[in-house]
Symmetry: none
Subunit: 201 residues, 4 copies
């Protein structure tokens, strides 16, 4: 009985597990060596798997890149997902969550991946598409929350600036790893309040 159960439930999840193992191993390699620099053999070793076996789960290196990109921006989106449920108190929540947002963006793993993904998007239309689609969706959501009664166009721009700032801090942190993040957060809070609450008293 146990055996049967094992067999019946193991196959599909195991495949998914292996794919995920490969995807996270690939992400580590991509951070370490870049998309082009990372070797299939390196990814295989990182996932404790033979080189050839990778091709049971993915068709090509490019597919691994695409799926890893998709996975990571979905994860990123989920952070913004929380804001969505905050209704008209989004700005408060944004401000409250700023520390987490900045820390996450400044995480070298994340910022390296973001950098790599964005650079890749400049030459690889598939990656560009994934990034742009996810980006549009994310902004649409936030937009809905923030949007009531305001000048929509301007709000969109303020949102862009907010995202630029958060991502920009991640990149700054690469070039200047001594960046004092808590200090950054407290000043960014001011900026965000000014960005979105200016009209309010």
């Amino acid at each position: 009985m146990e055996r049967v159960t094992k067999i019946m439930t193991a196959a599909a999840p195991q495949t998914k597990d292996q794919r995920n193992r490969l995807l996270t191993a690939a992400a580590r390699c991509f951070v370490k060596s870049g998309f082009r620099g990372a070797r299939m053999a390196q990814i295989a070793a990182e996932a404790q798997m033979s080189t050839g076996h990778i091709y049971h789960y993915f068709d090509s290196k490019e597919q691994i890149i695409a799926e890893m990109v998709r996975g990571h921006i979905e994860e990123k989106e989920s952070i913004f997902g929380r804001l969505e449920r905050a209704g008209d108190q989004v700005v408060d929540l944004m401000v409250d969550n700023l520390e987490e947002s900045v820390d996450s963006s400044a995480n070298p793993f994340w910022s390296a991946l973001t950098l790599e993904m964005t650079a890749e998007a400049m030459r690889n239309p598939k990656i560009a598409d994934i990034l742009r689609t996810a980006d549009a969706e994310m902004k649409a959501r936030l937009f809905t929350c923030l949007g009531e009664g305001s000048d929509q166009e301007e709000l969109a721009t303020r949102l862009e600036i907010f995202i630029a700032l958060i991502q920009g801090i991640g990149i700054r942190n690469i070039i200047n790893p001594k960046l004092d993040l808590p200090a950054v957060v407290s000043i960014v809070k001011e900026v965000v309040e000014n960005l979105f609450r200016r009209s309010k008293p």
Copy 2:
């Protein structure tokens, strides 16, 4: 006499010209294809030179990357150089120059190079060093201008946030090329004023 001198020393300037031609050709290729993706043959063609001849001017592709990076951040620095001479009116000048700064940062050529350089810096210590050294110097200069009578630490952080914002906008423009730059500039002006003039009445 002059003529003779010219002839005798002609080699050096010509060499410099060739090197520069190569460097700008390389930059174009790097923007188009990335550091790894750009081939020596492509760079040679772009510089209208034979592949092999590149090695009369540079030891390796890596050296080209390093020198190109150095050259381009020096160029970037020169923009900040102007601020230096503005004395205590730096913020005014910064605000006045914002349009130029944002446009320059949002220029696909520049943002692509910045992206590529920063990504490379994560893996290549030499590039990281070039970037960090230049960055430190640049900040030190601005710091001098802005710094008198203020809380130095906080000012440094505000400066970081300013740079992060400008660079972040460049990257946003890659993922969302429909970004309304003039609108962005006008809002960023507010942000910058708030960042640096808040204390002043």
Copy 3:
């Protein structure tokens, strides 16, 4: 009793069935993709069997090729077996059977296999040996029938020419699939009659 015997010996016949299933599946794949081009996974799928299980019946791909070649030339030989029983009326039978011989040789499946086998024989001594042994035996048999009272050497040569012609037609049919086979048969009949009956009034 019978039942028990059956059960006890069932393994062998079943094994033989599986082997044959595999062999015919392999032949189809070899025709489609060539010996080198056919993949073990393709053969397994064609035989509705898992890839790994093939190795319960055969040691290697090469062994499959060898056994398939042996099997197919034995089948071919059986066609000539009929002639053997015709005694001194072999030529009549040959002429009568020409249509079948030509059609069989021109069958894309057969001609493809023959091509593949012969090509393989040029590099693989084992295959060459199988082909040559079978060929020698086949000729020896026909030789016996045709041979009485004639110049043995010349007869052997005429036989070679006959076989060359039949096989050659098969190959022609690959390059020129519009070949009018009935017309070919009627002319080949003339040729065969001239080949073997010239001396007879």
Copy 4:
């Protein structure tokens, strides 16, 4: 002066020489190991060249195969080219040249290549096209010579049978290398005369 002449005239022919060297080296490898079996490294070694350098002259292994096939059938065609100029004495010339035709077809190098090319044509449409185009042209030429005043359809068929016979002998010679070629030639002469001169007294 010599230098200049050398430079001006050397480039193009040298490239052609290298290509031809590569092509004949490839042909030898293909005969030895088959199209799929021959390795680029093997071809490179046979041509006394580095593996990578092959790709200065050819885009891919497939292109080498295609060009080699084209070259070899053109060479084959040139044999038939002579017949063309014989006017209404083609059959005499064909009979006279039979020895050469048979010897050439029975040359292991040639028959191996023919085998390989035909087998490849079954799966590779490009090769099939090259073979069929050349074949059609060759037949058209012979057809013109032989065709006057005869039943065209039947003549075409007789031609096919002739070619099948010659090619078939080549293949026979692989399986039975003891084939007595002079004896074969003398009997084939009869066959050819019967094929094409039957109507004539």
